[in-house]
Symmetry: C2
Subunit: 341 residues, 2 copies
C-alpha cells in the first residue's frame, strides 16, 4: 500500500509507493510493448490500457474502442489509488496516511504525435475540455483537496516510457505545498493591497511590454519577472478567475490557440526542448466553505506555468531553494517573440 | 550585473545571472582546457584557476603553487559576486537587489579523483576543516545571512564540466527558502514540545533501528521517514548543535569517516549514482541578535542531506511540491546496511 508521509520538520508530504513490489509486472508490460513498437495510447490499441474513465468520442463509437478524440484512462502504475479511506495515523512521532487519490492519463490525440505543440488548436481545445470535465468530476469528491494537471514532455523531463503526447492528472487529499504557498502569498498581497497579485502582474506586464511573449483577447503569455528557468513562460487569463474549470468554449479555444503558439515558439527557439507544464487552479472548496477561503474568490488567479529544460537543477537549488536563471526573462521574451511561426 | 529577483507571489528569490554576456569567455576557456585534457583543479595547474582564497598547505609551500591538500578558489563564473552593495530596490511592483554574495569552489584533493567516496577519511576531514574555516570567515560579513555548502556528483546532478571532486560554497544576503522552512518548522515543533525535532528523530531512529544506515559514537546516518528520493540519507550529530562550524577535530574525523562510509555504501549499492549533498547549518546570527533567533540555539540542529540520483523530478514534483519515492526508506536503509564495504 502506498502511503503519504509527512516530513516532521517542514511539513512536506511525500508519496511513498514502494514500486519494487506492485508495478514491476505492469511496467515491464509497457516496456515490452514499446520494444514491439506498439504504442498503448494509439487509436486501436485501447485494450492495452485500463478501461477509460472519460472520452470525447465520435457519435456511435463505443467505450474502449476506436473513435475517440481525447481519452482519459487511469495510470497503469498509479502513485495514488482512488479506493479506500485516508486513515490518517501516527507512527510514533511521524504522521502518515494512505495515499488515496486519483492518478489519470489524458491521451491528447488518437494519432501517434509526440508534442502538444504540433496539435491543431481545435484539438488542444478538446484536451482542455477533457481537463475541465475531469476536474469538475473529481472536485465533487470531498476527499480531494486539489486536482493538479501537468505534462512531462521530452525524455529528460519525466520518467514515462511512452512518448505519445499525454498529460497527467493527480487528485490529492491534501493541498499541495506549491499551491499552498501561492494561496498564502496571494492572500497576503490581497490583504495588504486589496488587489489580486496576478491581476497586478498582468496589468504591469501589459504596460511595460518587455516580458510579453504574446497576447490575445483573453490571455497573456509572459516570461515571469522572477523566472526560475531560462525561457519559463506563464499563461494567465486577463479576466480574474480562480478556477480553470470555469472556462467556457470561447475561452477554451482562445487558451488552446495561445498555448499552441507558446509551445511552438519554445520548440522553434530552443530546438524542441523538454518541458514541464503545470495547470495551477484553485483548491477544492466543496469540503469547506467560508473560513480559510473567505477571500479566495478575489485573491487567487488560475494560470499555466511552462518550464522548459527544467531538469538542470543541482546542488544550488537543492541547497538553497534559490534557482539560477542564466537568461533574463526580458531577453527570453524577446527571443520567443521574434520566432517566426 | 547579476540580480536577485523576488517572485511577487511566493516570495521565492531567483538569482538572475545573464551568463550569455559575461561568462562566455571563461566557460569556453574551461571547455578548451577539458578538451586538451587539462584539469584546472589538479595540483600543478593552479594557474588555470582564480587566485586561492584559502588552502591547507604543506609547510613551506607557496600560495597558488603546488603543495596544497585542500584548496578554495572563487568560482570562475560565479552566480554571486563579493563586491558591492545590495542596493535593495523596486522595479514598479517587483523587488530586486544586486546578487552580492560569495561563490567558491572547494577542491577536495590535489590528485585527479572523481568521487569524494574514494578519498581517505583523513582527507575528507581536511575538506570539512576547509568548510569550517570558510564558513567562519564568511559569517563575519554581516551582509551574508547564510552560508550553504553543497556538492554535485556525477553528470546528471549538475552542470559543471569539471569532474575532479570538488564542493561549492554560496554565501547569500538572504536566508534561503529551504533553510527558512526548516527553521520555521523546527521552531514550531520546539514551541509546542520544548524539544528539538531533530533530537527527537535521532532518538526514535536509534530505538526503532529500521531506518538506520550506520552510526558511530558521534553521528547517525538514516534514511529519513519522508524521504523525497530513493536512498536519500541524512547524517546528523547525536549531540544537539546549531552550527556545523562548531565541530572540533574529533567530531570532524568522526563525520568524515561516516560520510565516506555512507557515500561508499551508495556507490556500491546503486552503482556509482549521481548525487547531491547539502550541508544544512544554522543561519548567520552576527547581524541580528535576540529577537528572531531567541530559541534557535535550542531548536535548530545542523545536518547533511545526501540525495542520490535526484535529477528524476518531473511534473508531479513541479506541479504539487510532492515527491514520489518508489523505495521505502526502511527498504533503502536495509539495502545500504547490507552493502559490504
Amino acid at each position: 500500500m502506498s502511503t503519504l508521509r509527512r516530513d516532521p520538520i517542514t511539513g512536506r508530504w511525500v508519496i511513498n509507493t514502494d514500486r519494487t513490489k506492485d508495478t514491476s509486472s505492469s511496467l515491464t508490460e509497457m516496456e515490452k510493448l514499446s520494444k514491439k513498437g506498439i504504442c498503448p495510447f494509439c487509436e486501436g490499441n485501447e485494450k492495452y490500457t485500463p478501461s477509460e474513465i472519460f472520452a470525447l468520442r465520435n457519435e456511435g463509437s463505443e467505450k474502449d474502442k476506436p473513435g475517440w478524440q481525447v481519452r482519459v484512462v487511469p495510470n497503469i502504475s498509479p502513485a495514488l489509488r482512488v479506493e479506500g479511506e485516508l486513515d490518517r495515523r501516527a507512527e510514533l512521532m511521524y504522521d502518515l496516511m494512505n495515499s488515496v487519490g486519483a492518478h489519470e492519463i489524458i491521451i491528447e490525440i488518437p494519432q501517434h504525435i509526440l508534442n502538444l505543440a504540433d496539435l491543431e488548436a481545435s484539438q488542444i481545445q478538446k484536451v482542455l475540455r477533457a481537463y475541465k470535465e475531469r476536474i469538475q468530476d473529481l472536485k465533487k469528491d470531498k476527499r480531494f483537496r486539489s486536482v493538479v494537471i501537468f505534462k512531462n514532455h521530452g525524455e529528460r523531463a519525466g520518467t514515462s516510457a511512452i512518448k505519445h503526447t499525454h498529460s497527467q492528472l493527480i487528485a490529492l487529499s491534501i493541498t499541495p505545498k506549491n499551491l499552498k504557498e501561492e494561496l498564502k502569498g496571494a492572500k497576503e498581497y490581497y490583504d495588504y493591497k486589496q488587489r489580486c497579485v496576478y491581476c497586478d502582474i498582468i496589468r504591469q506586464e501589459l504596460t511595460t511590454k518587455k516580458r510579453i511573449v504574446s497576447t490575445n483577447p483573453h490571455f497573456v503569455a509572459i516570461c515571469p519577472f522572477a523566472s526560475r528557468f531560462s525561457h519559463e513562460v506563464w499563461i494567465l487569463p486577463k479576466k480574474h478567475s480562480v478556477d480553470f474549470e470555469q472556462i467556457d468554449e470561447e475561452l477554451g479555444l482562445s487558451l488552446a490557440a495561445l498555448l499552441k503558439e507558446v509551445l511552438l515558439r519554445l520548440k522553434i527557439s530552443l530546438d524542441d526542448p523538454p518541458y514541464v507544464f503545470v495547470l495551477h487552479s484553485g483548491p477544492n472548496r466543496t469540503f469547506r466553505r467560508g473560513g480559510a477561503w473567505k477571500t479566495l474568490e478575489e485573491d487567487y488567479h488560475w494560470h499555466v506555468e511552462i518550464m522548459p529544460g527544467y531538469a538542470r537543477t543541482g546542488g544550488i537549488e537543492w541547497g538553497t531553494g534559490f534557482y539560477i536563471d542564466s537568461t533574463t526573462p526580458e531577453k527570453a521574451a524577446e527571443n520567443l517573440r521574434k520566432v517566426k511561426i
